[in-house]
Amino acid sequence: MTEILQAKDLHKSYKMGKSRLEVLKGLELCVNAGEFVAITGASGSGKSTLLHILGGLDTPDAGYVEFDGGRIDKFGAGQLNRFRNKMVGFVFQFYHLLDELNVLDNVVLPTMASVGSLGWLARRKRARKRAAELLEQFGLGERIKHKPYQLSGGERQRAAIARSLMNEPRLLLADEPTGNLDSETGNGILSVLQSLNRDGQSIVMVTHDERMAERAGRIIRLADGKIV
């Protein structure tokens, strides 16, 4: 199997008053293409921090992350933005949809952000068609004109997944995607992720819920800043 993501000797600490709290202590990780990896650990074990470093939203104090053989700490600002826009898709615990936009516009946003005004005019129709198809696929075909606050938690998370897939990223990073949902709705979201993985989507999911983690292809446990 091809390696898509590799983390080497990651260190990360936060300042807590006068002392520093070490969250990651030389963490090593490897994810293959097409894998569905769940990262579990106790609250405060550094799961979310690790996910943000893997997706280029945060930087490690030491160590590095390789994506498709390229070190993301060596990326320039433009490259890093393209990496976040095209290579990875994020799904957050609190959905993080923009309240000012309707569901369709939220989903279409990554494509809109990747092109200029003229480029968008050229791609607008195609992009909106793909967004509508994704929403249809996730059972939100009737809700595309709704605002996020008019949707249930499960619907919002499915809209967030649709957005993360809009630019067909090679890797999906999900941070506690079921953490804010009841168990039935959370199971529905996991089914969606499993289905995507069956279609070849690489996924790294952070969760504290062991039952949810068991539905992934591989489970990595984080404790004391390292994989155990």
Partner: protein, 450 residues
């Protein structure tokens, strides 16, 4: 495209933006109204001063005057950059009426009406002779009498209770007695001679409303010959106090004044051996702006002060907008994190909030400008209504020599004010948006929780 779209949505959804819009609108409203009125007052005041003296003034402060003027006027009239000239006597005298027990110190101005209306805007200030200003010293009720033109504020009961001037359909017939102090070329009081007349009786012919308080309240115009005689300036070597010059259309003011100055220097040089040449030394050649500087200057200073005050108001507006944007952008931290997580560059975040600021600035400036223009268009109606209802005038016409409130909106000034307001909004939004764009996406998403 997402930047404009989101900026519009933010504008429509965030109630706090109405605060920024109101701040911009109020600022623009005040600046448009006050600057238009102030600019109008200054422009009108300059124009009144310009009308009073023409383009260039050759004059002496001495009450004795200066001689050989006819030769210099003849020289001036030959120049193609000179359109008209008018010699004038300016002195002081006492005004009274037959059998009256009062007298009043006034300024006497002796002019040749036909010349003076060509060189200055004198004709525009007349009432009864507005259509035949060259006959202004001929009273319409008795053309055989020697007429005089009285500053409108010297006229008794010439204003109604709201301070506005009014005229009877026909000029009133009454006599005025003017006494002057004839002076010798050396400045001594001229001794009584056979042809020396220092007191003459004139009949009211018209009044002059120049809009200049010191002119309308102190000056009486009489015909040149009478004034020259009463001031002791006629005789073998006649003298005058000033020559007013109007330049031809298209002649540059400073350049033409320089030419007149040079002509005067040459004239003085050529006449230095003549008997009264010493009187030519005290004569100055000034443009109308230099000549009226002491009158115009304070008003221009006031305008500069107001401009500075409004610049400070602009700074306060920028600060208000800065605070409002700081609050808005602080509340949009999560959105900025979301945008950064989908690959929007920091520059994109700044552009998004710049668009937002442009919308706030443009709408605020639009509202302020529209309200300002509305108030200006109706300014005189509003003042009339205030006076009719509450007896209140913004400018008491019994004190201020203005007619209507100036309300001519200068489109280029309006455009500058609107663009400045938009620029102020952008400046106010720039700092917080740059700060927000510099945040790491993880921090913006507030994902510090472990």
């Amino acid at each position: 495209m997402y930047k404009l779209k989101l900026a519009i949505r933010y504008f429509l959804r965030r109630r706090i933006t109405s605060l920024a819009v109101v701040a911009v609108a109020l600022c623009v409203f005040i600046v448009v109204v006050v600057m238009t009125v102030m600019n109008g007052l200054v422009t009108e005041f300059r124009s009144k001063n310009h009308n009073f003296v023409g383009d260039c003034v050759i004059s002496t402060d001495s009450l004795v005057g200066f001689p050989y003027y006819a030769e210099f006027i003849a020289e001036l009239d030959k120049q193609n950059f000179v359109a008209a000239t008018s010699g004038a006597i300016r002195s002081f005298g006492l005004l009274t009426q037959p059998n009256a027990e009062w007298n009043l110190g006034v300024e006497i101005m002796g002019i040749n009406a036909a010349d003076h209306i060509g060189a200055t805007g004198f004709a525009k200030t007349l009432h009864y002779h507005a259509l035949d200003p060259e006959n202004v010293f001929i009273p319409s009720y008795n053309p055989t009498l020697a007429g005089c033109v009285v500053g409108i504020d010297l006229m008794p009961s010439q204003r109604n209770h709201s301070g506005e001037y009014y005229h009877n359909p026909n000029p009133p017939s009454y006599k005025l007695i003017i006494s002057c102090f004839p002076l010798t070329p050396r400045g001594g009081l001229a001794k009584a001679g056979t042809d020396l007349v220092n007191t003459l009786s004139f009949s009211y012919s018209d009044d002059t409303q120049s809009g200049l308080v010191k002119v309308d309240g102190r000056v009486i115009y009489v015909s040149f010959e009478y004034a020259q005689k009463m001031c002791g300036m006629s005789g073998e070597t006649p003298r005058i106090s000033a020559i007013y010059v109007k330049f031809a259309d298209g002649a540059a003011l400073d350049e033409s004044c320089d030419k007149v100055r040079q002509m005067w220097r040459d004239f003085v040089e050529a006449n230095k051996t003549r008997r009264q040449a010493f009187l030519l030394e005290n004569v100055s050649v000034q443009s109308w702006i230099e000549n009226r500087r002491s009158t115009i200057g304070p008003m221009e200073k006031e305008q500069t002060m107001l401009t500075l005050l409004f610049a400070m108001l602009g700074i306060i507006t920028v600060f208000v907008i800065f605070v409002v944007f700081y609050m808005i952008i602080s509340h949009k931290s999560k959105d900025i994190g979301i945008l950064r997580s989908i690959g929007v560059p920091g520059r994109g975040v700044v552009e998004l909030f710049t668009w937002f600021a442009v919308i706030v600035g443009a709408i605020g400036a639009g509202i302020g400008a529209a309200a300002g223009c509305g108030v200006l268009v109706k300014a005189n109606n509003i003042e009339d209504w205030l006076f009719a209802t509450f007896g209140f005038q913004i400018w008491d016409r019994s004190i201020y020599a203005i007619g209507d409130i100036p309300n001519k909106i200068e489109l280029h000034v309006l455009a500058v004010i609107i663009l400045s307001a938009i620029a102020a909004s952008v400046v106010g939004a720039l700092v917080p948006s740059i700060q927000a764009a510099r945040k790491r996406p993880a921090d913006a998403l507030q994902v510090n929780s472990l």
